[in-house]
């Protein structure tokens, strides 16, 4: 039985050894198919990379075209219920800023780089809307501000302003907050005139305002 089995196995192996082979053309065809397949893959990969780079380039160009660095500051009109009188403007601009107390004014030199560093990035939104709420950290142009005049070598002073003065500028402050003194940064131009104001702790003020409101 074993002998017969071995003989059969040997015969089958002999059959396998003498079997016809696939034609050499098959090998050549498959090799060509392999080359073409990978050439197409490489092409697709390169096209995808090129498309990605082109998309990045277009995005960068669009961003550069739209994001012009500017030092524009937002102009805020006083609310309708506040009378816009020359006296009110004088009260805001002249006395409080001309002679700030030593304690309330921080070093202009120290505050200056901060103001310069922050302005351009925020300026993108400034010309879009006129806010009627307390803006957190944004400079608000004073009524006397002329956008045609270059700010040049401006300085920033930190002062305490009464809530009523802020209301004159256009901040929606009323009630108990009118008597409160609020810390603010005032941007003073080369000519010594104040151009813009921003609240230092606007978020706290918003919270207090919300608390005061019924």
């Amino acid at each position: 039985m074993t002998v017969q089995r071995d003989t059969l196995s040997e015969a089958l192996r002999e059959l396998a050894a003498t079997s016809p082979q696939a034609s050499p053309e098959l090998g050549a065809r498959l090799q060509e198919a392999f080359s073409q397949h990978h050439a197409r893959r490489r092409l697709r990969r390169h096209a995808a990379v090129a498309a990605g780079l082109a998309a990045c380039l277009v995005t960068a160009l669009v961003w550069l075209a739209t994001a012009k660095p500017t030092r524009e500051v937002r102009k805020l009109e006083p609310p309708a219920h506040v009378a816009k009188t020359p006296a009110a403007e004088e009260q805001l601009a002249a006395p409080k800023l001309a002679q700030p107390s030593a304690a309330s004014v921080t070093s202009a030199a120290a505050a200056k780089p901060r103001a310069r560093g922050k302005q351009p990035s925020k300026a993108r939104n400034h010309s879009v809307e006129v806010p009627v709420v307390i803006a957190a950290g944004d400079f608000i142009a004073l009524p006397g501000f002329d956008s045609a005049v270059a700010l040049g070598d401006s300085r920033m002073l930190r002062v305490d302003l009464p809530g009523s003065a802020l209301q004159l500028i256009g901040y929606p402050i009323d009630g108990q907050l009118l008597d409160r003194r609020v810390e603010a940064d005032v941007l003073v131009g080369q000519d010594g005139l104040p151009y813009a104001v921003r609240l230092v702790n606007a978020r706290n003020l918003i919270k207090e305002k919300q608390r005061c409101e019924p």
Binding site: A11, L15, T18, A33, F34, H37
Partner: protein
């Protein structure tokens, strides 16, 4: 069949990257056995060539389909070939003996060869071939994989998608049937 699997995996990895030399090595390594399997299963050389081509095209198109956890690369290739042959057999009823296929091994006949012995050998192989093709497909594939391709039972079981015991029993049955056929033809006493 006794290739190190890790070598095959490395070859496939290179092939995936587009290395033509890797494909050439892989083709040379497996084309013979894949073609032979398709030939003895279909009984038709043209079909066998088409099946072999399709097997390697599938490897070219999607080499990542091979999962090392599921078996060897040889098993994977035979599995594809088996499915293709079955499909071919189901559609075109190509499960016929290879009787008319020409086996021109004349170049192997040297001047010192006993011509009568050689003719007898070729006739014997021809009969064996015919008997093999006359076996039912399930037994034939077990015999081809285990005897002609010298696969182990686990490898054959992975290709055929059945248990090792099933392979063993099919193989035993295939041998018995083959011997019986050969006896009928007067080849075995």
């Amino acid at each position: 069949m006794a290739q190190a699997p890790s070598d095959d995996v490395e070859l496939l990895r290179q092939l995936t990257k587009g290395d033509e030399a890797a494909f050439h090595i892989l083709y040379e390594r497996y084309q013979g056995s894949v073609f032979r399997f398709a030939l003895y299963m279909s009984g038709n050389q043209t079909t066998a060539e088409e099946v072999a081509q399709e097997v390697f095209l599938q490897v070219i198109r999607n080499p990542r389909r091979f999962d090392t956890a599921k078996g060897t690369l040889a098993g994977y290739l035979f599995g594809i070939a088996r499915n293709l042959v079955r499909r071919q057999m189901a559609t075109s009823l190509l499960d016929v003996p290879l009787g008319d296929e020409e086996r021109n091994d004349d170049s192997a006949l040297g001047p010192d060869i006993d011509v009568l012995a050689e003719i007898e050998r070729q006739e014997r192989l021809e009969l064996l071939h015919k008997s093999l093709l006359g076996l039912p497909a399930v037994y034939r594939e077990a015999l081809i994989l285990c005897e002609l391709e010298e696969m182990s039972y686990p490898e054959a079981a992975a290709v055929l998608g059945c248990a090792e015991g099933t392979v063993a029993s099919r193989l035993h049955r295939a041998r018995t049937m083959l011997k019986s056929r050969l006896q009928t033809m007067g080849c075995v006493r």
